[in-house]
Symmetry: C2
């Protein structure tokens, strides 16, 4: 197993309102050198899988400017400075779905594209839900859908349920529920 | 269901060697306006799940500068101009694992983070493998691992098997194999 490359130099080379790009000069243990770019994340992110009852999950549907389409996904967002990961998950669940959870379980941390980005997302299972809406800053109301766990096939077949993180989170949640029920 | 926002204006506001950021001014159907930023992708990407025999998959282990760690993942890469998606998948499998596939199946397209990025990755199942190495442009040799399908639990428990896309691809591949065997 190779020894980790040494970072010889790093430097911010681009910055917009929400993106920062860093150039990183590396020396591998075999002497090879490379300069790569990576995108820096500024905040931890959470993605929540809400279990509304034993047979259904909640999904949201909102416009995504990256795909220029409405996307079916799980509630998610950035954790604020003063929040823990679970507090951020609770708030996002309230803002995007109108529910709070009596029971939040951290499933695991996922990376987005670790070759190019430092971003991490924590996947949280939300159970024992109760109505507790909070106003978010969305430009239009988010649509909340109840999806039957018996019909995962047609969910996975939908082109608008496209996000790798969401499909991974669904898989991790289903495995967790299966093991613990 | 709301009508899709209208794009009033878009403009490249940042550019490095590998990243391009676009600013997009939107008008929602309710009249609300927002300006968002998104990262533009330049090439289609493929991620390959290689089935080496009925009971094992292949994984690769390589250094990722985003996480500054060695990551366990599936072979993947960008499709070149002159290639189809499946030709790109075949080449990446040869360069990163040393195998070609007699049988390549497109499982589905995933998005990375559709709220912030236009990037798409096609997930390809590779079966009927045979040795056919191609030289890639890696700074150090990529480690190839054979992983038993009977031990998915410990794979999912590894912090270095962290990528949302990889976990989603594993799930999609296992479902496909289960349905077709």
């Amino acid at each position: 197993m190779a020894q980790k490359p040494e970072i010889l130099h790093k430097e911010i080379i681009g910055r917009t309102q929400i993106f920062r790009v860093e150039s990183v000069q590396l020396k591998y243990s075999n002497g090879e050198q490379r300069v790569y770019e990576r995108l820096l994340s500024r905040h931890a992110a959470v993605l929540i899988v809400p279990i509304i009852d034993k047979e259904h999950i909640l999904l949201i549907r909102e416009y995504a400017v990256g795909s220029d389409n409405y996307e079916l996904t799980f509630p998610k967002g950035l954790v604020e400075e003063h929040e823990t990961l679970l507090q951020g998950a609770q708030r996002e669940l309230q803002e995007e779905c109108g529910y709070a959870a009596g029971n939040l379980t951290m499933l695991r941390e996922l990376s987005l594209s670790p070759g190019y980005m430092t971003h991490k997302t924590s996947i949280v299972l939300a159970q024992d839900l109760y109505a507790a809406p909070l106003l978010g800053d969305e430009p239009e109301p988010i649509e909340v859908l109840t999806w039957p766990l018996a019909d995962i096939d047609s969910l996975l077949a939908r082109p608008d349920f496209s996000e790798g993180r969401s499909i991974a989170a669904l898989y991790l949640a289903l495995r967790h529920l299966k093991k613990n029920n």
